[in-house]
Symmetry: C2
Subunit: 333 residues, 2 copies
């Protein structure tokens, strides 16, 4: 295993220390328990948004803490859920009296721990709404999941709900928006290589030199099937086809297209994928009105990409365009 790390045990802490050192103007990192909060937390009268999950998906979630996105993120160990006590401490650090939205990716450990954290937060006097994200069309159940996995829609929901909370909208409305984003998003990933978890030291799965894993999860969970290497056009057609048929998306739709790198994918390849996606959607009468291209929700050092499509309306578009100032996403300010 070759990685730019120190001890495998220290990967999460060392990464958080780097995040804190680099972005002191946007966020603070608390240790024991570990969580990341925006520098001006708590913002009185604003709905607080908290997300989190296993580490190894950077910049998600810690890199999305800041004005216009998350108030707090709780990082677990690599590919391991954070704990309820972490979440409660983070919730109390960001509670501004207007309630708390928990954005939860649909993995069994995350769902269980966020449920416990929600109960603890309610007991401590905080109003809580939880939304579980489950946008991955690849498989119905998975290695770590009952029901569909939560993937790219998480990033989009964090941005859009962050903007709504920044506008001063009430908790019920921000939570409803989160459900709308999840319901209007479909995603699918493909792996060219496995990732390697630092504490394991060897690849999570084996892929032959001419194989792709279609529908892979962001922890290396198996997908729909293995297929031989194909052109970017063929790969995009298979992924986008599954996504489009599922909602379904139809001619006249305006979408946000998110082409995500899984950690070891050159930007050049992501632009080639985006080009194929744009052509395919145009042929179906679907317009890309907004896009996000880059490594935003990764799987350690996995090569590959995922595609997410969110069906936009004017409100979602305006909230997407609103200013955001985080290490991972930044515009308008």
């Amino acid at each position: 295993m070759k990685k730019l790390i120190n001890r495998p045990d220290d990967v999460v802490r060392d990464g958080l220390a780097g995040l804190a050192a680099a972005h002191a103007g946007m966020l603070r990192v608390h240790t024991d328990p570990d969580y990341v909060v925006r520098t001006d937390a708590p913002v009185l009268g604003k709905v607080a948004i908290l997300s989190g999950g296993g580490s190894g998906h950077e910049p998600m979630h810690g890199g999305f803490v800041g004005r216009g996105m998350l108030d707090a993120a709780c990082p677990g160990q690599v590919f391991t859920s954070p704990t309820p006590d972490q979440m409660l401490a983070a919730a109390q650090a960001v509670d501004g009296g207007a309630g708390l939205l928990l954005i939860v990716k649909n993995y069994t450990g995350d769902v269980m721990n966020f449920e416990m954290a929600a109960e603890l937060a309610v007991d401590s006097g905080i109003a809580v709404e939880s939304v579980v994200i489950d946008d991955d069309v690849a498989v119905q159940d998975s290695l770590h999941t009952a029901g569909r996995r939560g993937v790219g829609a998480t990033v989009l929901a964090e941005k859009i709900c962050g903007a709504a909370a920044e506008e001063g909208r009430p908790l019920a409305e921000v939570a409803e928006l989160c459900r709308r984003v999840n319901a209007a998003t479909r995603s699918m990933g493909v792996a060219l290589t496995s990732c390697t978890v630092p504490l394991v030291g060897k690849p999570t799965f084996e892929l032959g030199p001419d194989e792709l894993e279609f529908g892979v999860g962001i922890h290396g969970e198996p997908g729909r099937e293995r297929r031989p290497v194909a052109t970017a056009a063929a790969v995009v057609e298979a992924m986008a086809g599954a996504i489009l048929d599922d909602l379904p998306f139809v001619a006249g739709d305006r979408v946000l297209a998110f082409v995500d790198g899984l950690g070891a994918t050159p930007l050049l390849e992501l632009y080639i994928v985006y080009h194929e996606l744009e052509r395919l959607l145009a042929a179906r009468g679907i317009t890309i009105a907004r896009h996000l291209i880059g490594p935003y929700m990764t799987a350690l050092d996995m090569a590959g990409c995922s595609i997410s499509l969110l069906r936009l309306d004017d409100e979602l578009t305006a909230l997407w365009d609103a200013p955001v100032v985080t290490p991972g996403l930044r515009w308008g300010a």
Copy 2:
């Protein structure tokens, strides 16, 4: 070779098509000859800045075209210099009557072709200044270079000179700034893996499972030496030591620290590297006043990173902070 591409011959064109489709608000892509220009080019009365080089380093250079940075970028084939006719066509497309700055990375092919382009541009009535970037401390001469290679300082010079040109400064002053940035920057890279050029189809060099290439170039050129795998702390100490001793940087210096991913490096690892760098510099009395962390100057799918340090003064800092709106770098607007 597994990559998200179509035909290896089409990699550059397909990538440019994706860039054009995604960022029509910032830039336009011209084909035959291939170049990228900002949408509002030519900007009358403003110094135009043109850079370019082989493709495979995305987002550099095409992703740095836009307000506050480059007016034009000329992409060659992968790891191959663009041609003088490309550069001349791009120069004429962005000439706003205030002259042209060519920012050239020090590789033999680039230097020769940019020199020819400069002569052609002068013949066509454009005032031209050229600055060759050579910030890599790893080796004195290299596979494709007489003298030091140009690496991370290129990104910093493009941003800083772009801001100065946007302010309306004259050509001689913008060129002088470019020379100052180059003179005040030192860089070094390390590879964990080779890259694979699409048209070649196999890795450019072989590295053992426990080896690192110290001082690697952004085309996979050999570095100073092979070393066994080491901790991030030890790797950073070796790289930063070579950088700091070379200028030399001294206690009291304020620097811009650029931790660059070479294409297949997870952001988590770059933050771990940044943390080690910040600690090492602090111990020497050197303050990181600005930073840039991410994949900005890549080498296709190479795993590894490079570190660049630029000694800042107030003027360089202010120009770094000025608004920039490009696909690759964006803030302040």
